[in-house]
């Protein structure tokens, strides 16, 4: 190789056709493919979907006679939406005009914060959803009395020596408690697993970029 890299660069760009800008049509309406914009869009859509679902479910829960489930769902999902709306506001603050390291770091920090908060929240979200279903059906009207009490009555007919605590069979309490603990333990993992399916490639790429820049900084 005779020419230096610098000369190839300079001489190559002296030719008139080298730097012809592509035509830009209707840029204002272009759908951005930038990852932060994509995140913002997906986040907004997700949040709106959660709000719509929680409203719809609240109405349905009253119609089908499990309002407790609907109310707990609505409150829990509203908290989730408020938390994530605040996270979205933080994302809006990231300035793209800062250095690449600061920019990637800010974005990475935002992702880590978002994952950490939602992971913690998921530990409670799944058990709460399960418990709301249990309570909803327990108190559902079944011919003038709560479905749960009716069920206990039928159990006592078949198994009269069933041990009760506050009128609830101990075995039922144990089963519900075990499921709650399991959901608490795996809630975070379910969220992480779900997240990795969607954003795994992005996380890996960001990690590689950060490692590379950090090696330059050290």
């Amino acid at each position: 190789m005779e020419k230096s890299i610098e000369n190839i660069w300079k001489e190559g760009f002296l030719k008139s056709d080298a730097l012809v800008a592509p035509k830009i049509n209707n840029l204002y309406n272009q759908k951005s493919i930038h990852i932060i914009d994509k995140f913002k869009r997906m986040f907004k859509i997700n949040l709106m979907a959660i709000v719509a679902f929680s409203f719809a479910f609240l109405v349905v829960s009253f119609i089908i006679g499990i309002p407790i489930t609907g109310i707990i769902f609505f409150v829990t999902l509203s908290v989730l939406v408020v938390i994530n709306k605040r996270l979205l506001n933080d994302l809006e603050k990231i300035d793209i005009g800062i250095s690449s390291y600061q920019y990637l770091k800010a974005f990475n920090q935002w992702i880590n914060k978002q994952v950490s908060i939602n992971k913690r929240f998921s530990r409670f979200l799944y058990p709460i959803i399960f418990m709301s279903l249990v309570l909803g059906f327990w108190f559902k009207d079944a011919e003038g009395m709560p479905l749960g009490e009716r069920l206990v009555g039928e159990i006592l007919v078949g198994f009269p020596d069933t041990y009760l605590i506050f009128g609830i069979p101990l075995i039922g309490i144990v089963i519900v408690a075990v499921i709650l603990v399991l959901l608490f333990l795996v809630g975070g993992r379910i969220y992480k697993w779900d997240l990795n399916i969607v954003y795994g490639r992005l996380f890996k790429k960001l990690e590689e970029l950060m490692t590379d820049i950090e090696s330059l900084r050290s």
Partner: protein, 163 residues
Amino acid sequence: MSSDFYNTSILPFAGIIIKLCRAYTSSQQDFEDYYQEVCLQIWRSKDNFREESQWSTWVYRISLNVCLTLLKKKKNNVQHFVSDSITAEETENNYAFSDESLNLLYDAIRKLSEIDRAVIMLYLEEKSQKEIAEIIGTNPNNIGVRVKRIKTRLKKLLDGKIN
């Protein structure tokens, strides 16, 4: 975006954007997408420009940050790093410029890691080590060493291809 803003604030720096976007894309379609995206982000972020640096440096930063974080779902994305075989897209991009040596140089640059691409592009644009470090956000002392290493790699990749 107004055409005035594009003509006065982006078009004079289109060269910078084109050079960077070419290094991060391997097809004409991707290049045009990246170029549009950079322009869009410059326009969206224009109010954040505080004149602490030159407009051109700021354009570099945005172009680079957009290129580093643009995600395109593509098949065989890692092919460039594991194989020297020429894909259809590479072939297409090999003819992006009329200068054959420049096409070969770009082809070699695309085989580097994303950060190394940024470092060498800024170096070739005659940015000082301090400016390169400021744009990327690294330590200026390490830039010189990294540039040398990248140039050695590029020379190896271009060896025998350019007379």
